[in-house]
Every structure is written in structure tokens, then in C-alpha cells.
């Protein structure tokens, strides 16, 4: 199995979620994160004190999937989360050795 982690622009979440559901992905976990990268941030000024805000709000989506589904999921995320603007984000794929559903104790494929 694979753990697919995507960093996306916040307002893209719903589109991505729907396309994944369409693929039959039954669940995902989302985290509010701050991203640093090529996309440049803002400057805040308070009574003359300037603060560069180099970290921008992003969402991190984590989806555990069977290996065979990985490409389809990556494809779906890429197409939906893309705006073409700098800062669209990244997708990371890491190996997933085991999955357990806490409620039932089911493991791996059955747990997804």
C-alpha cells in the first residue's frame, strides 16, 4: 500500500475530495499546514515594524491506498488541485507497510 501525501491550496480541498470519492477512496485526513517554497509571501506592517510572512497557508491531504490505485489517485489530485500558478503544491508517495482499522481490527486492504 502507499501513503499519498499532497500539499495543496486550501480552496481546492472540496474538488479534490470529490474526485477521490469518485475513485472510490473512502477516506482521507486533512491537516492545516504552512508552506514555504517558490511562491512568495506577504509583508505585514504594524506601526512601522515589518514582518515578512514567508509561510503560506496550505492543506496537507493524506490518503492511504492500495498500491494499484496510487497512480489514479495522484492523477486525480494533480488535475484537480492544479491552478497553474506557483504554489499549487506537491505530492509525496511513501511506502505503507500496514494499516489497521481501530474499530474492527481489520488490517491492510480491508481497513481502507
Amino acid at each position: 500500500m502507499k501513503l499519498i501525501t499532497a500539499i495543496i491550496k486550501p480552496f481546492k480541498l472540496d474538488e479534490v475530495r470529490e474526485s477521490l470519492s469518485a475513485l472510490g477512496v473512502q477516506g482521507m485526513t486533512v491537516t492545516e499546514v504552512k508552506g514555504y517554497g517558490r511562491q512568495k509571501g506577504h509583508t505585514e506592517i504594524y506601526r512601522g515594524a515589518e514582518y515578512a510572512v514567508s509561510f503560506l497557508p496550505k492543506l496537507k491531504i493524506e490518503v492511504a491506498v492500495k498500491s494499484e490505485m496510487a497512480d489514479a489517485v495522484i492523477e486525480a489530485i494533480t488535475s484537480k488541485a492544479k491552478t497553474g500558478q506557483i504554489g499549487d503544491g506537491k505530492i509525496f508517495v511513501t511506502p505503507l507497510e500496514q494499516v489497521v482499522r481501530i474499530r474492527t481490527g481489520e488490517t491492510d486492504g480491508d481497513a481502507l
Binding site: 505585514e44 506592517i45 504594524y46 506601526r47 512601522g48 515594524a49 514582518y51
Partner: protein
């Protein structure tokens, strides 16, 4: 406070002392018929006192609380709230007596009042302040003045944010109230030397704001900068709180300025109008100055400008006409913007929330401009330079500013050094980095 108010003062005190008999008598005899208090004036002064209290809690508490980092917000609120509590008690114990009663020795009285009013013992229920038909109960006047005594030291907290021990803070508030504020209030409002000299300070430009601002400057110099000042991000954590605070300061300030007429009369009305106009003008002035220079009109700038206007019009309200108020407000917005944004950078002190830049500078500016724009057409007690050709008033105002600045600076410095020796002023580096809320008060905001 207005000259008219000063005039009343002697009487007020007289009535106060007279009231001594009154308040002792009853145990043995029946109450004499109470003086015929003016219910309208009394209603307004009760309202004013409540409004001025609201300026400190929650007004000032939120104005400052929103500007600090989240880890220190509760500690900042605790400063305003704690100051309110301890000053209330000390004002009752002896502060009011020092500031507003006459010292038996006329020479001493130039500098400090008497002690006979300790614990307000002589203040009977029928003790009166003012002259008929505008008498109000002295209890109301004492309470009204108490709210001024509360906010003045509390303002200083803007300069010591994020790094002072709470114990040291309470000591500071207490000693400063009795050794700096009460005497200076006596000088100007209690029959002291500036009162005699005829200084014009309607509601406390020098007594309250220049005074607190000067103390703030000294305090941040003595304390030193916050750890990480200039390198770490110290952005205000929640300006929503600061906007609420600034708004309540604005609303409450009508009790402060219009209330200083100690009556619901034409002076109060004109003071209210002048206050509103100057405040709005200063908010716009700061906003546009920033818009031009920093390219964006910040919310913090707008509310800072409003406070600067409120400060600058404080000594002038009740003496100036709407036009004068407009000019004072515009000046205050620009001057305080420069003070808070450039002057601070230039000299590099860490007046964390700009208590000096706004209250000190704005208070001094207002005191001087009061001498310029005071108009006898508005208040027969105030003859200014431009309107009445009384240039002499300018010199008196300069004395007012200079006297308050010097005495306050020296007094504050000594008080801080003493406290530093005994309990220590500043928290440890660990505590400062981790935050005051959890370390000093054992609480945090989980919201």
C-alpha cells in the same frame, strides 16, 4: 480639568471638610437635610465615572491585549485588571486625600494635599462638591476621580509589555500612584502650583497622558528590550481585541472629557463635540499618513490615530471650538504616527505598545496646542494665544509640560530602581520566551 472645575474645587474641599462634621454627627443626631444636589449633574457624573472605568476594563485591557503575542494576552489583561483593583483601594486609603484635599500648610499645599481624608473617613453621605445649583455628592466626585487615577498608571503597561513580573508591576502601580500621580494631580487640579499658575488642562493632557507616557518611556529604558526585539515576529496576535478596546476607549472618553465639566452643561456638550471631531480627524490623519508612506491603511493605524486624537484633545476639550478641535486632531494623528513609527526606530527603545509615542507625545502636543487654541468664547476660563491673543498662556503650558515631564521622569526612575533592588523588575529569559500567561498566572488561552 477645567478652570471652572478648579474654582469649584476649593468649595468642594471646603464642603468635604465641612462634611466631616456631617458624617460624624449622625451617630448622635438625625441627618440634617441633605444639600440640594443637582440630579442631572449627578446622573451625568455617575455615568461618566462608569464610562471612564470601562475605558480601563475592558477598554485598555483589550487594546493592549490584542497587540501582544498570544502567549502573553492573559498577563496583559491581568495588568489592567490588577491595576484597577489595587489603585481603587489605595485611592480610598490616601490617594484622594493627597490629590484633592488642601494641605493645612499653604506652602506644602503647592506640592501635595492633606492626609485628613485617609480612608475617606470624613466623607459623609451628604458631603457636597461644587456650588449650588450645581452641587453633586462628593462621593460621586471622589469616584469619578478614582477612575482617572486607575487608568493613568494602567496606561504605562504599554511600555513594559511581555517582560515585567506581576509582583513588580503591582508594586510599581502602587508607588507610582501615590508618589507621582497623586502629587501631580494636586499641582494641576488640587490647588497646587500649576493650578495657581493657571495652567489649562481640561481633562488631563499633562496630568494623565503626558504623565503616563513619560513614565512609560522611562520604564522601557530601564527594563530594556524584549528578547528577540527586531529579529523575532512580534506581530499583534489579534487586532480584533484591539479594535474592541479602542472603540470602548473612544466611547468611554466622553465620560473622561465631557465628564470633566463636572456637570451636564454647555461645557460638557462642547467638550464632547470637540472630542468626537478631534478623534475622527486624528484617525484619518494617521490612516492617510500611513497609506501614503507604507502604502496600506492598517487597522492598527486607524485605531492608534483615534487614541492619539483622544489624548491630544483631552486638555483642550472644553476650551476649544470645533475648528480648533479639528486642527488639534489632524496634528495629533500625524505627529504621533511619526513618534510611534520613526522616532522609536531612530532611538531604538522598545516602547512595546507605544505608550510614550501616543500618550506622552500626544499629551504634550495637546497641552501646548491648548494654549494656542483655547478660546474665551467657548470657556471664559481659558484665554489662548491665537483666539484671545494671550501669548502668556503658551509659557504657562510649557511649564505645565516641563514640570510634569521632569518630576515624573525622575520619580519613575527612582521607583523602578527601588523595586528592582527589592523584588526584581523583569522575568527570567525562559519565562519571557515561553510566555507570561502560563508562567505567571498558570493559565493559557485554549480558544
Amino acid at each position: 480639568m477645567s478652570f471652572s472645575k478648579m474654582k469649584r474645587l476649593g468649595v468642594g474641599i471646603g464642603a468635604g471638610l465641612g462634611a466631616f462634621a456631617v458624617s460624624v454627627a449622625p451617630a448622635f443626631a438625625a441627618d440634617p437635610p441633605p444639600p440640594d444636589f443637582n440630579s442631572g449633574d449627578t446622573a451625568w457624573m455617575l455615568t461618566s465615572a462608569a464610562l471612564v472605568l470601562m475605558m480601563t476594563i475592558p477598554g485598555l485591557a483589550l487594546f493592549y491585549g490584542g497587540m501582544v503575542r498570544k502567549k502573553n494576552v492573559l498577563a496583559t489583561l491581568a495588568q489592567s485588571f490588577g491595576a484597577t483593583a489595587i489603585i481603587t483601594i489605595l485611592w480610598m486609603v490616601i490617594g484622594y486625600s493627597i490629590a484633592f484635599t488642601a494641605n493645612p500648610d499653604a506652602n506644602v499645599n503647592q506640592f501635595i494635599g492633606g492626609f485628613s481624608y485617609a480612608f475617606l473617613a470624613p466623607m459623609g453621605v451628604n458631603a457636597a462638591y461644587g456650588t449650588a445649583p450645581h452641587q453633586i455628592p462628593e462621593s460621586v466626585f471622589m469616584f469619578f476621580q478614582m477612575t482617572f487615577a486607575i487608568i493613568t498608571p494602567a496606561l504605562i503597561a504599554g511600555a513594559l509589555a511581555d517582560r515585567m513580573k506581576f509582583s513588580a508591576f503591582l508594586w510599581f502601580m502602587s508607588l507610582w500612584l501615590l508618589l507621582v500621580y497623586a502629587p501631580i494631580a494636586h499641582w494641576v487640579w488640587g490647588g497646587g502650583w500649576l493650578f495657581t499658575a493657571g495652567a489649562l488642562d481640561y481633562a488631563g493632557g499633562s496630568v494623565v497622558h503626558l504623565n503616563a507616557g513619560t513614565a512609560a518611556l522611562v520604564t522601557c529604558l530601564v527594563l530594556g528590550k524584549r528578547i528577540g526585539y527586531g529579529t523575532e515576529n512580534m506581530a499583534p496576535h489579534n487586532l480584533v481585541l484591539s479594535v474592541i478596546g479602542a472603540s470602548l476607549l473612544w466611547v468611554g472618553w466622553f465620560g473622561f472629557n465631557a465628564g470633566s465639566a463636572v456637570a451636564a452643561n454647555a461645557n460638557a456638550g462642547m467638550a464632547a463635540a470637540a472630542t468626537q471631531i478631534a478623534t475622527a480627524a486624528a484617525a484619518l490623519a494617521w490612516m492617510f499618513a500611513e497609506w501614503i508612506i507604507a502604502r496600506k491603511p492598517s487597522v492598527l493605524g486607524m485605531i492608534s490615530g483615534a487614541v492619539a486624537g483622544l489624548v491630544a484633545i483631552t486638555p483642550a476639550s472644553g476650551f476649544v471650538d470645533p475648528m480648533g478641535a479639528l486642527i488639534i486632531g489632524l496634528s495629533a494623528g500625524v505627529v504621533c504616527y511619526i513618534a510611534a513609527v520613526w522616532m522609536k526606530k531612530l532611538f531604538g527603545y522598545d516602547d512595546s505598545l507605544d505608550a510614550w509615542g501616543v500618550h506622552g507625545v500626544g499629551g504634550a502636543l495637546g497641552a501646548i496646542m491648548t494654549g494656542m487654541f483655547a478660546s474665551s468664547a467657548i470657556n471664559s476660563a481659558g484665554h489662548g494665544w491665537l483666539m484671545d491673543g494671550n501669548f502668556g498662556q503658551m509659557w504657562i503650558q510649557v511649564q505645565d509640560v516641563g514640570g510634569v515631564f521632569i518630576y515624573c521622569a525622575v520619580g519613575t526612575f527612582i521607583i523602578l530602581k527601588v523595586i528592582d533592588m527589592i523584588v526584581g523588575l523583569r522575568v527570567s529569559a525562559e519565562v519571557e520566551v515561553e510566555g507570561l500567561d502560563i508562567n505567571l498566572h498558570g493559565e493559557t488561552v485554549h480558544g
